[in-house]
């Protein structure tokens, strides 16, 4: 049997989870853009987590943790997502086939490393990737991976490996689909609440989260010496910001797109102006990435003090920005 959802449309997205949320909700007749999924779930953030190490470097996140966006769909749309994990890979694959046979589009959490269609140099052991399966042909699963431009195919053995990869954030074969959707329109109330929550996160009191996290990272960068390790450290920050599916500038451009939509829905014109400002702040992040890359390439002398200064300026600008945003939706 070759079940395939012919009325499913693949969408190219900046980020895997917001892309999956937007494609999945749209498939169920909710008109939801990626930016709106991202903003509505208050996924924008900044966190410097020195106690979580990725190949020897601290975790630097520009967004909230995995599954935050999917869970964020719950309230605004009164949806109920069903999440299932499996102890045995065979059971996980059987269940996937079963759901596909019922005509469902199924979301999966996978590792990036074992997906054969990913470019070789992008395959790292990152376990919290999200994608959608919308059909099966022979042994191949038909996959809508939001970060690729076109739909992909993946043999069942490879997909099984990717779903049951072990290590940090192990997916344990996680699959999910909405069981019910209560409403299909985004309300102004939900948008305002989501923005308030993002402001709370960004201006909150925890020293490693939000703008305070940026300042802490700046202090850490200022103390770097001139070793190879320091260059790798700075490269790691830029990778988290630009390379790992963020839509540019660590999700700042994506959130700017959300604010434009938010201005329309809530009728608060100031949000459109603020979107413009966030766009400029995003350019500041790109400037930081560019300077760092030039130093890594050796075109400029490595100057940690200067990079730290740029991070502090960004923290300053975002503090101002989120304060204004708070007043705009108050």
């Amino acid at each position: 049997m070759n079940p395939t959802n012919t009325n499913f449309h693949h969408r190219h997205a900046a980020h895997c989870e917001s892309g999956v949320a937007s494609s999945m909700m749209s498939h169920h007749a909710v008109n939801l853009s990626e930016a709106m999924a991202f903003g509505l779930s208050s996924a924008l953030s900044f966190a410097y987590l020195p106690f979580i190490r990725l190949t020897g470097f601290p975790l630097i996140a520009y967004r909230m943790p995995p599954k935050f966006i999917l869970k964020g769909m719950k309230k605004p749309f009164q949806t109920h997502f069903r999440f299932e994990t499996f102890r045995h890979p065979d059971a996980g694959m059987r269940r996937l086939d079963e759901l596909l046979a019922q005509g469902k589009v199924v979301g999966l959490q996978t590792s990036v490393f074992w997906l054969p269609y990913f470019p070789e140099d992008m395959r790292f052991h990152f376990n919290a990737h999200n994608l959608l399966v919308y059909g099966k042909e022979g042994d191949d699963y038909l996959i809508s991976d939001p970060v690729t431009e076109l739909p992909q195919r993946c043999a069942s053995a490879d997909l099984q490996r990717a779903r049951f990869a072990k290590g940090a954030l192990a997916p344990k074969g996680l699959l999910y689909y909405p069981e019910s959707i209560g409403r299909t329109e985004v309300s102004a109330e939900a948008v305002r609440n989501a923005i308030k929550k993002t402001v709370r996160i960004m201006l909150g009191p925890i020293p490693i989260v939000g703008v305070r996290g940026m300042r802490m990272l700046a202090n850490k960068v200022a103390k770097l010496d001139h070793s190879e390790h320091s260059l790798n450290y700075v490269g790691h920050i830029v990778r988290m910001q630009e390379e790992i599916g963020t839509g540019g500038a660590g999700f700042r451009f994506l959130y700017a797109a959300f604010l434009q939509e938010a201005a329309q829905i809530t009728g608060i014109a100031e949000l459109a102006v603020l979107s413009e400002r966030l766009n400029e702040i995003g350019d500041g992040w790109r400037e930081f990435a560019l300077q760092a890359a030039r130093m890594i390439k050796g075109r400029e002398a490595f100057d940690p003090t200067r990079l730290a200064g740029m991070l502090r300026t960004q923290a300053e600008r975002e503090t101002e920005f989120f304060r204004t945003l708070k007043h705009a939706v108050a």
């Binding site: 900046a14 140099d121 992008m122 790292f124 970060v147 072990k166 990778r239 630009e242 540019g248 797109a257």
Partner: protein
């Protein structure tokens, strides 16, 4: 970022893929734009890839000289380190380090070898060879 500032200079780590970026169109609307990638992304990704490759190459040279086991080479070649291999295989880190001893590795039990092979996604026999 404006639409015409979206980097298209190409990034060989992306292969044929294009990634989606958000940028401001002429009418002021933020839109999604497929990007061929930029030199900045390429620099930082290649830096990470090169670092892993250098570790693998170094382990290969030491394995050829008989100073470590091929296991260390394959670990880095599959872009892991001892901490990650330990998490994935369920074998304690100190035991993995012991298995970097060439003689010990040669006499590894088939069961342990199978655990490593499973974690690294390679056939067990390949773990005793070097490319």
């Amino acid at each position: 970022m404006d639409v015409n500032n979206v980097p298209q200079e190409g990034n060989r780590t992306l292969g044929n893929h294009r990634k989606a970026l958000y940028a401001k169109a002429a009418d002021g609307k933020m839109v999604i734009v497929p990007s061929r990638g930029s030199e900045v992304d390429e620099t930082v990704t290649m830096q990470a890839v090169d670092r892993m490759n250098a570790l693998a190459e170094d382990a290969r040279a030491r394995a050829l000289a008989g100073n470590t086991s091929p296991l260390e080479y394959w670990m880095y070649a599959r872009r892991m380190d001892v901490a990650l291999l330990s998490q994935i295989s369920g074998i304690w880190q100190w035991r993995i380090r012991r298995h970097f001893h060439p003689h010990r590795f040669l006499h590894l039990s088939p069961r342990l070898l199978a655990s490593y092979a499973e974690a690294l996604g390679l056939p067990p026999a390949q773990l005793h060879t070097l490319p």
